[in-house]
Symmetry: C2
Subunit: 293 residues, 2 copies
């Protein structure tokens, strides 16, 4: 059982595990009676990009494992340019920890990696939470050059996390205020912080998004093979990965519940952190083979 001091997003020390040819960075905190929850991060995000309001709430009843995929943060290796390559690393990491089964929270890119892991090794997951993500062959996935995103990403006045407030949250005042609070929470961790992702990380991950958009065979047919109980979550004004992708996920996955949030974009789980944590906790607490909770 972790001590109180280290049982939080802000205080948990960064740890490392050697697995195969790589040394992976991770943080592990919280405790619960169910399986640990593997947390797979978004585009260019590191261990520092998990919102304490979400992960500390989840950690009250679940052991969390935050993970830097290869080449991200302080994990060694090169960032793969396919989701499949990232899934291979995440599975190697779990093997390195000696975990044969866990739950997973995959956000954005992390949700794609989680789907790929479930396809390759179904037994690795019990229950899955997919937030702000898309199926293979989804639409309009992370096209950062479109005007609604480019105007923020190319604005030199928006430095560091300030750009996240713009691109993860909806334009409404209420959503922007939630974004500002989110950014403040991300800054609360003052020691043992991660290096910011270099342009090469973004470049490889963008290549992975482009490959993930490709349809191979019947569109969405892979989803039928993922029979885990799944909770799909998205904000209705997500500009980075439109909510239509979550409609497809929940309509084609055979065992998925969809939850959408109003007035929110890509960071809906951070904007509605109380609700999301409550719903995710209830979903993970279920022992049913059926997703509805």
């Amino acid at each position: 059982m972790p001590s109180n001091k280290t049982s939080s997003t802000i205080a948990a020390p960064t740890k490392f595990v050697q697995a195969g040819s790589e040394r992976y960075a991770y943080r592990r905190f919280g405790s619960g009676t169910k399986l640990p929850l593997l947390c797979l991060q978004h585009f260019t995000g590191t261990l520092d990009n998990w919102d304490p309001a979400v992960t500390d709430s989840l950690a009250e009843s679940t052991e969390l494992i935050l993970f830097d995929n290869a080449g991200v943060g302080r994990s060694s290796g090169a960032v793969p340019n396919t989701v499949a390559g990232m899934a291979t690393h995440a599975l190697a990491f779990l093997d390195g920890l000696g975990l044969t089964m866990c739950d997973v929270l995959g956000f954005s890119l992390g949700g794609m990696v989680a789907q790929q892991m479930a396809l390759e090794r179904p037994s690795i997951f019990r229950r899955m939470i997919l937030v702000g993500t898309a199926p293979r062959g989804g639409e309009d996935i992370m096209h950062l050059d479109k005007p609604s995103l480019a105007k923020h990403l190319q604005n030199p006045a928006l430095k560091g996390y300030a750009v996240l407030q713009k691109i993860f949250f909806a334009p409404a005042e209420s959503s922007q205020a939630a974004g500002a609070a989110f950014v403040e929470r991300l800054m609360r961790r003052s020691e043992d912080r991660e290096p910011v992702s270099a342009p090469a990380v973004a470049q490889a991950q963008m290549a992975a998004f482009r490959e993930w958009e490709q349809v191979s065979g019947e569109r969405f047919s892979d989803l039928k093979k993922i029979r885990h109980p799944i909770l799909v979550v998205q904000g209705v004004f997500d500009e980075m990965i439109p909510v239509s992708n979550s409609y497809w996920l929940s309509a084609h996955l055979p065992n998925a519940v969809l939850l959408t949030y109003p007035d929110s974009g890509h960071g809906s789980l951070f904007q509605f952190h109380d609700s999301f944590s409550r719903q995710a906790t209830a979903f993970l607490a279920s022992d049913s083979e059926s997703a509805p909770y």
Copy 2:
């Protein structure tokens, strides 16, 4: 406080209230610390069409008011051929009971009536639950002549509630089994049952669906005016009112959470009655002005 004997879907006596020129039939049972929950019924449905597995669960923490609109069941008057006409009757009924504010659960046609009531008299509702329904200008609303529905509705071997099992549930064995259990539950009430709706009821309600499909002005613009906290629920395989209608509702209503269920059709709330009752109860328990719960 109702006694235990009458505090259930099966046992609650049918009551009547005179309001304006009509005498409306209703049942009232359960108790809670919040406002009563007005339950607005589906196409041709009467007081007897509420699933005890849902309404008895809700009644554990909420006072329920099941309502027969004009011309349905034992309510007097003619069935209006517009949703607006039905909303006028439902508001008159609440006036007759002396209720100035309540929560609402509108299922299918009932969800359209609830939207119209919220537009006409916003103060009448605190929180709203809209299940298996559609916005004005929605698509493919109750086209009973399409093959997937007509094959059941025109099958002479399917009598009484047996047709509901086919048209409210998905074709999968799991959903059909849930449908059979639903039909069994509907039959548990043995006394004080309602007359089955006559063809004239269906005819007027179908006219109301056709009118509701018409767009007036900018499509979905009315939804922006309904600012209540709303929970939208639908099954992803709904053939009677496709789930796309709930996508529109939740994306255009400014303050709505969407919950969709897998492996289920129009009767998703009955198929997943444990989950639906839990989610609806949690939603209604919230005092927030924001829908996420």
